[in-house]
Point group: C2
Chain length 355, copies 2
């Protein structure tokens, strides 16, 4: 409401002129650099208020060589899984005054490269979750000079820090539990073929079936992590006369679709067949009967990755902590005949909810 009139925001030059000092002094005053007299600083501050000046972060990041922003690149933004990850990341980022730049590779491998390239000059570090990329390809895309932490991806040959879930052990444990409950014929609904999580879970299942159940070629139905593919598996199961007394879906979403499909066909859960999932999405405990699953603290996945990245940015070296593997926990609920059911579901979030 003063000064320039037409054009945009006030610049540091404007502030300096208004306060009757040089740009250098203005800059120092604003950033609290010490070598400025109290009255001078006050004058600058008055000018800042008057023109309501806000430093242009783009310009600032040019010289400072840091942006106070980290890029987050996810394969998709669908469902509670990602929203929980982002929330976990934001929690930590916010504490350290960092901003989040969201990139989305929308499934396509080609877009992944674009998403990563587009981050240059915008971020100080990267959090990337590339569930169906081969390590070699990934290495090509990444800029070695840009600190990067992998989300939910065991870096393997690459020596990049990562935080992952022990999908193998989780699947193994769940299969074991199913067998312990008396199941003989356990069927697995797999995730997308290229997805590394899915493959590890399938491997864990198959190994457990072989070692504990003594079954060499357990039945495995195709799936793609979507609810619909769970429903489809239900149809295959019923029509195909595939004998099964338990079904272990590679994720909760598919388990949800599966249960709906089974109900439609008149099958009772867990009476006729037990059902188990993986992830423990919030929805799981609200189903009726409630869904047995492997609990992954999804938000922690995001927050620990962010914490690792912050430490790297601070110049710390994280040594052994550079590979973090979270072990999921078995949650036995209604669909495997466990104790709990919907009536005793506990409210999970006390604050921060919205319409």
């Amino acid at each position: 409401m003063e000064g320039k009139g037409t054009s945009g925001m006030a610049t540091l030059r404007d502030v300096a002129r208004e306060a009757g000092v040089s740009v250098a002094t203005a800059s120092r005053a604003i950033n609290g650099l010490g070598n400025v007299t109290a009255p001078t600083r006050a004058a600058v501050m008055v000018a800042v208020k008057k023109l309501n000046f806000v430093p242009h972060s783009g310009a600032r990041s040019l010289t400072r060589r840091k942006t106070d922003t980290v890029g987050v690149i996810l394969p998709d933004l669908f469902g509670e899984f990602f929203s929980e990850i982002i929330r976990g990341i934001d929690l930590v980022a916010h504490e350290s005054g960092m901003h989040l730049l969201l990139g989305n590779m929308h499934g396509s491998t080609h877009e992944t490269a674009a998403a990563i390239a587009a981050m240059r000059g915008r971020v100080d570090g990267l959090l990337v979750m590339p569930p169906d990329l081969k390590p070699e390809l990934l290495a090509d895309y990444l800029d070695p000079a840009l600190p990067t932490v992998l989300l939910n991806y065991d870096a393997g040959p690459l020596d990049l820090p990562f935080v992952a879930v022990d999908n193998y052990r989780g699947a193994y444990a769940m299969t074991e539990a199913l067998l312990a409950r008396g199941a003989r014929q356990v069927v697995h609904i797999a995730g997308p073929k290229h997805n590394r999580d899915a493959r590890e879970r399938q491997r864990g299942f198959a190994d457990a079936m072989a070692k504990i159940g003594g079954v060499r070629n357990p039945a495995i139905l195709p799936g793609d992590f979507s609810e619909e593919s769970g429903a489809q598996a239900a149809r295959l199961l019923v029509q195909g006369q595939l004998p099964a007394d338990a079904v272990f879906a590679a994720n909760d979403q598919m388990a949800v679709g599966l249960i709906a499909g089974l109900a439609e066909a008149g099958k009772s859960v867990p009476g006729d067949v037990m059902v188990a999932g993986f992830d423990d999405i919030p929805l799981a405990r609200h189903l009726n009967p409630s869904l047995s699953t492997m609990q992954v603290h999804i938000d922690r996945l995001g927050s620990t990755a962010m914490m690792m990245l912050l430490r790297i940015l601070r110049g710390e070296t994280l040594g052994a902590a550079s590979a973090t593997i979270l072990t999921p926990e078995l949650i036995a609920r209604g669909t495997t005949g466990g104790a709990a059911n919907n009536a005793t579901a506990q409210p999970q979030s006390a604050v921060g909810a919205h319409p």
Copy 2:
């Protein structure tokens, strides 16, 4: 693996030197500005590949005066509501090559100002959702020079474009439906006091009760949109002997907590008491009995806001389209004795799901 060695990425100057041309030419070649010979362009491109140069977006945005980024400021990142909004925004943003910078005001009013200020110089436009801010305050925080679209907020006196949900009509319609189903004593669980959505919903409820039910002071219980506060309402209802044959919660989350609480107390839904919510979060259809609610296409809220912002950024003027109001649709399900129940729930997403 060439050239500089120690330092960071290649700059335009490096590329120019490598290709034996000036920076101007290099820039023109890279941006496809036409007035460059084919051989020259080729030479530049070779240099680009060799040094694997990626333009520094920070520097570029300084002169171009655009960042290809929009800021999204949300009150929180909890639950499916926000994840759906972000997904809707991203969908549109991605199509136009825009990036998303996430800001989070974490509830605090003070942080809101900080979040908005921090966006200066980083974004071309803003999408803001300030559910419990007074319009005057909001006006103070916002930079009039920065194109801004309000999310889920009827701008009222401010002449800012916005997209909102007709909370009043929605609540009115739901209350009407409850009464039509034979309810006499309908209780409302309100949202946070300062929240504008919550207040509108409460007003719609009260008006419907007065005009249709002939009830002047309907019972209203406090709530804060959280599941826990729904459960608390259930306790009040049961212990307080508050007579009720229907409860209308201001959002789905509270309805979920309410249902769990009622079940615990041995009340049957909808037998003893009907329950209705608002929003139609994905969880709603999976409950048993499934939850009757007002369907807001949450993702559309985000995507239409983003589309409006894009049009503003393109210089179009959106006239009457500057105020978009989405009318929610009544979805009658099990908790009001409606037709559908869990067994017929339909899978909702066929693709893009994840662990």
